[in-house]
């Protein structure tokens, strides 16, 4: 169906149903990186949003949607949507006009920057926005505000994958292959990803491979739905990914299941790896990881013997103080067995946020300029300065990363613009983050619901929701796709890009922000990315429609993009060789102790998205999972005399939280698991460790040391 690149996907041969008096807007889900296609049913007359209708012809999902996708449209007419600007007066957020709000914002920016310097005003941006908005935020920070301090919440999400991919294969596209290639694998190794719940629309591809007889290896401390159906489940102790990968490498090298020809022609560093993994015998690795010896050997054989295969991973691998090592070590599995550059062979990370991929490509990361250019690279600076029409010296250098930025609030950073993120739920040590935000001189927030973070702002600007957005997103595969919005701005809401351009105008920088539409912004982005790693130059809105999305790089107007990377086996380094890197197991930053004897790990549930600001407001989703809970293995529960449904106090050296116990065998005995989608007293991030991965600056969300205390069960309360 459609373009040749979409041949092996999951689309189905049905037309959408169109009902009387309605029109269908074909757009994409606003949540995870699968970016499923869907039709929004809109009343033709008053443009109100009525419901959702499957879009069977979109290749990635073929009409299928997870519960978040099915109910996402319910945000559009939600009563809690912000309709007017709000300004804090006498401690309370009160309705204000746009003029009042803009005047205040601009005067505060000028006041703060006048007093403390340009960098004293920071931007904390998001990755669930269109590429156009992400690009605009990067440009606005650098030449609208002239601040070096812009970073984004993707720092919490994909940054380790990004560094890992760059250091191993020289390019940071979340997947080396189109998603349809998964079906052609003979083995799939999925690590640290609860794929079934977090990226449900990957399941048809995984089942596609299984139906062809592919073996599935899952590395996860919990027996998730993905692990339940695996051939081998490597139920590792959280934080021991480097060790388990070393163990698999050890067995594959020992049993000569490696591809010598590929290693010799297309990689460097194998000898060092071989030397290092010698001591990672299955017995030794079993001790570190808690996984049975025979399972390690079986998994290594399944992976090593298969012709084609993928290693795929997500935050369970990345959100660690050793996250980049783990990513590269899992990439090693494919490099030593020559599983690269073919249908059915490659590596991928599951993109958490809607536009986690595009959001990190076009310059809202503090160390990057558009097209994945390094902000410290003189050539890159000169090129982008040319595109922007400014002097190279006007572009600031790198600033602080996301969490470092929060820690600097009230100190180096006195004013903050927050867009499309909710750091007071999503950051580690959220109790402290609340204090940091309070110490700001001025805090402005753009959102469509009053998030826990927005509640603390001095000014809140009402944005449009995603069904009203027009632009592009880049999905888990590296496919740039078109999001088409309903042409409306309910109440006094305004489009983010217009607001940003207006602030620039009022700051006297309007000449650099003369955009009339998202397409205008995209056309500038294309030029800005030209010649960079993430080259969008050849992508146009027209092409996106015609091809149902275009894979980057797409450097010329004639190009149709590159779904599969490295078919020529030339990796993105000057010598064309991939880097096999060797890592020792160091383990998590915070180890368990006598006082805090249990490991805490956090993650998602299928019904909620990130900080829950959106999904907790959708009644159906809230009802399915109203509250967080703590998963405890029956043996551990017995030790503490905790019964299913009883309340438990979970504490780390940084804070504590009270949760209902969910006693279940799906989790390890030495750990507990808590989902992270709730704020305030229910935010598990009160407990998590703010230790940062040195290269990617991702916090170590996945492991910290905690203790459990049973508290008197509260009558009448049920666990979620």
């Amino acid at each position: 169906m459609g373009h040749a690149q979409n041949k092996d996907y999951a689309q189905r041969d049905y037309d959408a149903i169109l009902r009387d008096g309605e029109e269908l807007i074909s757009t994409h889900c606003c949540f995870c990186g699968m970016q499923c296609g869907m039709n929004i049913r809109v009343n033709k007359e008053d443009k109100s949003v009525l419901g959702v209708e499957p879009r069977y012809d979109f290749p990635m999902n073929g009409g299928r949607l997870c519960p978040k996708g099915v109910s996402a449209y319910r945000q559009a007419e939600h009563v809690e949507r912000l309709n007017h600007p709000l300004i804090r007066k006498n401690g309370k957020l009160e309705q204000a006009t746009w003029d009042e709000a803009m005047d205040l914002i601009v005067s505060k920016i000028q006041e703060i920057q006048g007093k403390y310097g340009k960098d004293a005003f920071g931007i904390y941006s998001g990755s669930s926005m269109t590429n156009e908005k992400c690009y605009l935020m990067g440009k606005f920070a650098r030449i609208g505000l002239g601040t070096k301090n812009i970073d984004y919440n993707g720092r919490y999400c994909m940054s380790s994958a990004s560094v890992g991919f760059n250091q191993s294969i020289g390019i940071d596209r979340g997947s080396t292959n189109p998603w349809s290639d998964i079906k052609f694998a003979d083995v799939l190794l999925i690590a640290g990803s609860n794929t079934a719940e977090c990226h449900p629309l990957s399941m048809p591809y995984i089942w596609g491979a299984r139906d062809r007889g592919a073996k599935l290896i899952v590395v996860d401390p919990r027996q998730t739905k993905t692990a339940l159906v695996a051939d081998v489940h490597l139920d590792i102790r959280p934080g021991t990914d480097v060790a388990i990968a070393n163990g698999l490498l050890h067995v594959m090298i020992e049993e000569d299941l490696v591809d010598h020809d590929f290693i010799q022609k297309h990689t460097t560093g194998f000898e060092e790896l071989k030397e290092l993994v010698k001591k990672y015998t299955p017995a030794h690795v079993s001790e570190i990881t808690g996984v049975a010896v025979d399972k390690i050997i079986t998994a290594a054989r399944l992976f090593g013997q298969a012709k084609n295969g993928f290693t795929m991973f997500a935050r369970g691998v990345e959100q660690h103080a050793t996250g980049t090592d783990s990513v590269s070590n899992y990439v090693n599995l494919c490099l030593v067995t020559g599983k690269m550059g073919r249908k059915g062979s490659g590596v991928a990370t599951f993109t958490g946020q809607g536009n986690g991929q595009g959001g990190r490509e076009h310059g809202q990361k503090t160390d990057q300029l558009p097209g994945f250019r390094k902000i410290t690279d003189p050539k890159a600076r000169e090129y982008i300065a040319g595109v922007w029409g400014v002097d190279e010296s006007e572009i600031p250098g790198p600033g602080l990363s996301a969490f470092e930025m929060l820690q600097a609030l009230g100190k180096e950073i006195k004013g903050l613009l927050l867009i499309c993120s909710n750091p007071i739920v999503s950051s580690p040590t959220v109790g402290d983050v609340g204090e940091y935000l309070k110490s700001l001189d001025f805090f402005v927030c753009m959102d469509f619901f009053l998030s826990e973070s927005a509640e603390q702002a001095d000014v809140v600007l009402p944005s449009t929701v995603w069904v009203e957005d027009n632009g592009t997103m880049t999905n888990v595969e590296g496919r740039v796709l078109r999001v088409k919005g309903i042409d409306r701005t309910p109440g006094e809401t305004k489009r983010d890009w217009k607001v940003i351009c207006e602030i620039a105008e009022r700051l006297g920088r309007g000449q650099y922000f003369q955009f009339n539409s998202p397409e205008d912004i995209f056309n500038e982005l294309r030029v800005a990315s030209k010649g960079g790693t993430a080259d969008y130059y050849g992508i146009t809105y027209e092409k996106l429609d015609k091809m149902q999305g275009v894979f980057w790089p797409c450097p010329t107007e004639e190009s149709e993009g590159l779904p599969r990377l490295f078919e020529d086996l030339k990796f993105n380094f000057p010598d064309g060789k991939a880097r096999i890197l060797a890592f020792e197991h160091k383990g998590p930053n915070e180890k368990t102790s006598k006082d805090y004897p249990i490991i805490l790990s956090t993650g998602r549930v299928v019904f909620h998205y990130l900080s829950g600001n959106q999904t907790r407001r959708i009644e159906a989703l809230r009802n399915f999972c109203p509250d967080p809970y703590v998963e405890i293995h029956p043996n551990l529960a017995k030790k503490y005399n905790i019964e299913h449904g009883e309340f438990v106090k979970v504490s780390s050296p940084r804070g504590s939280i009270e949760l209902a116990a969910k006693v279940t065998k799906i989790t390890r005995e030495d750990m507990v698991f808590v989902p992270y989608h709730w704020g305030k007293s229910l935010a598990i991030n009160h407990l998590t460790n703010p230790a940062l991965e040195p290269k990617s600056k991702i916090p170590e969300f996945k492991v910290c040391a905690v203790k459990l205390e049973k508290i008197a069960s509260r009558a009448g309360e049920k666990h979620g």
């Binding site: 037309d15 499957p54 299928r64 401390p221 065998k665």
Partner: protein, 189 residues
């Protein structure tokens, strides 16, 4: 050719997209007719969806005193007609699968009608349209019953009474463990 629901338990992730999706069918009055159960809570995350089984000789329809439950030409057992249903719950008691529910306020029965609005126009029901894992599929009845991809069940023995259903269930392959579906062994640690 008549199409039916084929449900492969092994693939269900318990996400309830089918439940929310069901509400989106016109004629469902935003009331879901799909249920998802945890098979063995505390032991495993296994779940299964339960729509109507669309029996070949439906006990619900047979037990209805006012003949409110119609059977469509293609065999789909429809929800009770609003005009006729008296809310007596006979169908609820008669159904061996426990499918029909009665809205106590409106005094009317509601159950899965395979999204007749959609299926009568050749589109899959909403549950089969949205299910992200292909657990629920809308397939040719004859094909799935004669050449199933795995062991299936569509005949059920209720104390000697055999009921044939049009909905076909794909059974978890716990014996050869082809997909490694191990009920409830949890993690080893």
């Amino acid at each position: 050719m008549a199409k039916v629901l084929y449900i492969d338990y092994e693939r269900c992730i318990g996400c309830k997209a089918c439940v929310i999706g069901c509400e989106e069918c016109s004629g469902h009055d935003h009331l879901s007719r799909m249920f998802v159960d945890e098979l063995n809570p505390g032991e495993t995350v296994a779940t299964s969806p339960t729509p109507c089984m669309h029996c070949v000789t439906p006990a619900c329809a047979e037990s209805c005193p006012v003949q409110a439950i119609a059977i469509a030409d293609d065999g789909t057992v429809l929800s009770a007609s609003l005009e006729k249903c008296i809310g007596c719950k006979n169908c609820t008691y008669a159904c061996p699968f426990g499918i029909p529910r009665v809205d106590d306020v409106k005094k009317v029965m509601y159950k899965c009608d395979m999204c007749y609005d959609r299926t009568s126009k050749g589109r899959p029901p909403m549950c089969a349209s949205v299910c992200p894992t292909d657990t629920i599929r809308f397939v040719d009845e004859h094909e799935i019953k004669s050449e199933p991809p795995k062991e299936v069940q569509f005949k059920w023995d209720f104390g000697g009474t055999v009921i044939e259903t049009r909905t076909v269930i794909g059974l978890p392959d716990t014996e050869t463990n082809r997909y490694g579906y191990r009920e409830g062994d949890g993690v080893q640690s």
